[in-house]
């Protein structure tokens, strides 16, 4: 029981590490997801192909493999960054594929006439997407995007295996110090719960404010 109070600073560091990975990873995933979803519905064929390849490759690669590829692969091409940044890159890119597909399904729920009306008024593809289609698509993708970001928070545990400070990794320190493994994991699980429930709450509010009225 006192495993938490005795090692609060270790837990806290791990917790902050996971929060950091989740926040930066989410921002990257949302930005890239938006971009890739725009690519996949763009009138330019090469952009559509790029978006499709991006999603297919990243969605079908096991995340651990992607971590290996980023953390061990990129330095070979002379790109040396802190491990945390690599972890955010891997998590963000991986999750962006799922965000992209959630957004695209949202875009498909917006009736075709909305885009046609915007185009017939002389709006460009970018204006049509940003002022007419995405704001309406956004409402219907709040729930799936929330789920995807919760998955990202939990996937961040993999970064611990690559010596990035995060919540799950703290168990190694605790077990070396001889603490009861069950209680160690209970507190770790509660830490994740705090993060995922916070994401749930945020998306609940978003849905109440922006969601489709039925």
């Amino acid at each position: 029981m006192n495993v938490l109070t005795d090692n609060f600073s270790t837990y806290w560091e791990g917790f902050l590490g996971t929060v950091e990975l989740t926040v930066y990873g989410s921002v990257l995933a949302l930005a890239l997801g938006f971009l890739m979803a725009s690519f996949r519905v763009a009138p330019v064929g090469s952009l559509r192909v790029f978006g499709t390849v991006w999603v297919t490759v990243l969605r079908n690669t096991p995340l651990t493999l992607l971590f290996f590829a980023v953390l061990l692969g990129l330095p070979r091409f002379g790109l040396v960054l802190p491990f945390t940044v690599f972890a955010v890159l891997a998590l963000g890119c991986y999750t962006s594929a799922f965000i992209c597909e959630a957004l695209r399904s949202g875009i498909n729920t917006v009736p075709k006439g909305q885009g046609e009306a915007a185009r017939s008024l002389g709006m460009t593809f970018g204006q049509t997407l940003s002022a007419v289609v995405l704001p309406q698509a956004f409402r219907s993708v709040i729930p799936p995007v929330g789920s995807t970001l919760i998955a990202l928070a939990k996937n961040s545990a993999i970064a611990g295996a690559f010596s990035v400070t995060e919540l799950l990794g703290t168990y190694k320190t605790m077990s070396e110090l001889g603490y009861n493994i069950v209680w160690t994991f209970v507190w770790i699980a509660l830490g994740y719960l705090v993060i995922t429930l916070a994401i749930s709450a945020l998306f609940h509010v978003l849905e109440r404010t922006w969601g489709v009225a039925r």
Partner: protein, 247 residues
């Protein structure tokens, strides 16, 4: 007859896969002219209307607007589309924007008007279609007829050279059709160039300069309305008119 052609289609062909929906269409619409396109469903009249601002691409032929050929894609096409207003069967008002925002949006985005100027212009147009009192409402709170009048105001907000109407009253309850037709009659009286795909024969008779009758992707007749309705030349048109006028 058309002294000053604004919209010109020459040898336009369009296919949906195997289906040949537009066959060698030649059509000229003069400035200030009101052309009503009628015909049985599946005759290609909606497609014809949509090719004029390239919501539908064509396989061959040329379309020119005010002397300029329609650009294929991109900013040039967007600029040209802004010059041609379009009114759809299903209204297509932006569901997440208020009536006022619907009319103002493209003025700000496309014409780069200041928001205040755009809103002032929008209020004038809403006044003209009799809906100023509803400016703050969302489309879903309006009746079909009201939504379609807003859609007309939204298209007019770009000060278009011509207006395309793709079956503007087909999705409306009978009692709302007239309020929309009244706005269209007023536009026609004001000298707007209009291409109207419709089943409203009364409107065609009263407001059109020409009636274009289409069947199976071809223009079968292109004549003055009174002529066409009283003495249709082709069997196809006679058959069509006998079906819709006798009930």
């Amino acid at each position: 007859m058309a002294v000053d052609p604004l919209i010109e289609l020459q040898g336009v062909n369009k296919y949906y896969g195997e289906l040949h929906v537009l066959r060698d269409i030649d059509l000229t619409v003069g400035r200030g002219e009101v052309v009503v396109v009628i015909g049985p469903s599946g005759s290609g009249k909606s497609t014809l209307c949509r090719t004029i601002n390239r919501l539908e691409t064509i396989e061959s032929g040329t379309i020119t607007l005010d002397g300029q050929p329609l650009p294929a894609e991109g900013k040039a096409l967007a600029r040209l589309r802004a010059e041609v207003g379009m009114v759809f069967q299903s209204f297509n008002l932006f569901a997440h924007k208020t009536v006022l925002q619907n009319v103002s949006l493209a003025q700000v985005k496309v014409r780069k008007s200041k928001k205040d100027d755009a809103d002032r212009h929008s209020r004038e147009l809403l006044q003209r279609v009799g809906l100023l009192a509803h400016a703050a409402k969302y489309p879903a709170q309006l009746s079909g007829g009201q939504q379609q009048r807003v859609a007309i105001a939204r298209a007019l907000a770009m000060d278009p050279k011509a207006m395309l109407f793709d079956e503007p009253t087909s999705a409306l309850d009978p009692e709302m059709i007239n309020e929309v037709l009244e706005v269209m009659r007023q536009l026609a009286r004001d000298g707007m160039t209009m291409v109207v795909v419709t089943h409203e024969m009364g409107f065609a008779r009263a407001s059109a300069n020409r009636v274009v009758f289409m069947a199976d992707g071809r223009i079968v007749e292109d004549r003055a309305p009174e002529d066409f309705f009283t003495h249709p030349r082709s069997e196809r048109a006679k058959d069509f008119l006998s079906k819709i006028l006798k009930h």
